[in-house]
């Protein structure tokens, strides 16, 4: 099967609409296809990665813990737009730590999350074959 570069662009907050949850479902299913997968979080999408989420008061499923499984699915390129974070008064410390183990580097634990500028993100988008916007 051909390998393509897939980029999932997450633009919406985790709750308020189902886009974030159903985007993550595509990413997890897509992982079985052994494609080169990258995730980007921009605009309100950065809220999806916030630490210590608790959705019990709105009686909807808190799916944030599922992001921690991405490393096991070889999804370890996660880009968060710096401008979107700053505009919302957030920094990397506000995001949940997401890591993966690099088998080519003695299984060293590495950060999956990279904070990038909007210009850098534009370059990353430019390199992709398939863009999915959620």
């Amino acid at each position: 099967m051909a390998t393509k570069k897939f980029l999932y662009v997450n633009r919406k907050p985790p709750h308020g609409s189902i886009y974030a949850l159903e985007s993550l479902e595509v990413v997890l299913i897509g992982a079985a296809f052994e494609q080169d997968v990258t995730l980007a979080f921009i605009d309100d999408g950065v809220y999806q990665l916030l630490q210590k989420q608790d959705s019990s008061a709105i009686a909807t499923k808190n799916f944030a813990p599922t992001f921690r499984a991405l490393g096991d699915y070889d999804v370890n390129k996660i880009y968060v737009e710096r401008e979107s974070l700053e505009m919302r008064g957030l920094g990397k410390d506000d995001l949940m730590p997401l890591t993966w183990e690099d088998e080519d580097d003695d299984w060293a634990e590495k950060d999956s999350i990279h904070i990038v500028s909007s210009a850098e993100l534009a370059e990353i988008i430019e390199q992709q074959d398939v863009l999915l916007n959620f």
Binding site: A2, K4, V26
Partner: protein, 130 residues
């Protein structure tokens, strides 16, 4: 060129499905190939056969069915998205113990893998959403 189409919004509230229909129709007319049309999120509602719009308005799901039949298009509704929104074919209705089904002719229910595969097979995956 080979296109795949992803539709993320339902009929009537958003223009996404209309734009996708016009794009698909124009692409076929220009001699391009449509690998698959995949309906996700509220987009699965485009596949209902129970919609009754006013007579002077377009019928979104009938229009998709007709285009699908004319060009042997794969019109795929995501199974997970469809189930949680009450879009069931005969098999799914029986399996879930429901008394009815509501899928329009030409639409099929299948898995999200069909969306990823559509991205792999096509030269371009075009996303229509909000």
């Amino acid at each position: 060129m080979k296109f795949s189409i992803l539709i993320n919004e339902g009929p009537y509230t958003h223009q996404a499905s209309d734009s996708a229909y016009h794009f698909t129709e124009a692409a076929l007319r220009a001699g391009h190939e449509i690998v698959r049309v995949f309906f996700y999120h509220d987009g699965v509602y485009n596949g209902t056969r129970l919609s009754v719009p006013p007579q002077d308005d377009r019928n979104v799901s009938e229009r998709w069915s007709a285009l699908g039949q004319e060009h042997s298009l794969e019109l795929i509704l995501c199974v997970a998205a469809a189930q949680r929104r009450g879009m069931l074919d005969e098999d799914e209705a029986r399996r879930a113990g429901k008394d009815s089904n509501n899928i329009a002719p030409g639409f099929e229910i299948s898995g999200l893998g069909q969306l990823v595969d559509a991205g792999i097979q096509a030269d371009r995956l075009i996303v229509f959403g909000d």
